[in-house]
């Protein structure tokens, strides 16, 4: 019995951080992803030649046990049509506990771009994989939305 105790203890010690890692919730939340025209009117259907303005909001909880605020983060907004990435917006900033930060920008839809449904993906990371290596992690669940591009 004694010889079993030691490996069992090590197994439990190995499993605890692993379970914590898989169960961990993210410290930030993407609370808004909205598409607008350049005058600020919300819309989801655009014509080629127009600019799709994407506005987002990231919120931090007033108190969170697993992260220390203010928290540095990298926010990425991408525009996709199938496997083509047609736009990329990025920012790096800092957020305090209980704060909400806005970020957005316009992506021009070229006259040569295809018509159809475009996907918008929004990520909040602690940095780029090339910078963070194995310490890379998302800081908020990704959010997606879509727009339609007509002729």
């Amino acid at each position: 019995m004694k010889e079993v105790k030691k490996p069992a203890f090590i197994l439990v010690l190995t499993l605890i951080p692993l379970l914590t890692l898989t169960q961990a919730t993210y410290p930030l939340t993407i609370t808004k992803v909205e598409t607008k025209d350049y005058t600020g009117v919300p819309k989801t259907s655009f014509r080629r030649g127009e600019i799709a303005v994407i506005e987002t909001e990231v919120s931090a909880p007033a108190a969170y046990y697993y992260a220390q605020f203010p928290l540095d983060y990298l926010q990425i907004i991408t525009l996709w049509h199938g496997p083509s990435m047609l736009g990329l917006l990025m920012t790096r900033t800092k957020i305090s506990a209980g704060e909400t930060k806005s970020f957005g920008g316009g992506i021009g839809i070229r006259l040569t771009d295809p018509i159809g449904t475009y996907g918008i993906e929004v990520y909040v990371w602690n940095g780029f994989p090339s910078e963070k290596g194995a310490a890379w992690t998302p800081l908020a669940p990704a959010r997606t939305t879509s727009i339609t591009v007509t002729g």
Binding site: E3, T14, L18, G82, F128, G133, P138
Partner: protein, 147 residues
């Protein structure tokens, strides 16, 4: 003793689960407009992985987050823009639980036409040889008739 072996095996399985993910990029060389696929294997079930591609000038040209399947695999594809620069692109992948490979994967973007244009002269040579043989045969035939 049996219980000890079982526990050791369980620990081994847990440690295997913490192994670094593997990244495969296909094809290794392509031209602008081509589609490159980045496949991740050996990750943890359902974990998130960040994918970043840097062009030969170190600009970020792709950033994407994917969720691995229950078997710890996943992939994404990217169509190389027609305006993409030529050279080696580096693919950085990092996953929230299983970590990152020690070195980035890579692929090459090359121009549609080879660096040096070489004219294929074989059809011209073949035509010249055929004409020469036919002319020679005709001359021989005419000479034989005269005799």
């Amino acid at each position: 003793m049996k219980a000890k072996l079982l526990l050791t095996a369980a620990m081994f399985v847990v440690l295997l689960g913490l192994a670094q993910p593997t990244v495969t990029v296909t094809p290794a060389t392509l031209t602008p407009g081509g589609i490159v696929t980045i496949s991740i294997g050996g990750g943890a079930s359902g974990e998130k992985c960040g994918i970043e591609i840097r062009d030969p000038f170190n600009n970020v040209v792709l950033a994407r987050e994917i969720t691995l399947t229950p078997t710890g695999t996943g992939s994404t594809s990217w169509q190389i823009p027609s305006t993409a620069g030529f050279g080696t692109y580096l693919v950085y992948v990092s996953c929230e639980t299983s970590g990152a490979p020690a070195t980035p994967a890579s692929f090459r973007v090359t121009s549609l036409v080879g660096g040096e244009a070489v004219k294929d002269l074989s059809p011209l040579l073949l035509t010249a040889v055929t004409l020469f043989v036919l002319t020679a045969a005709a001359i021989v035939a005419v000479r034989k008739q005269k005799k």
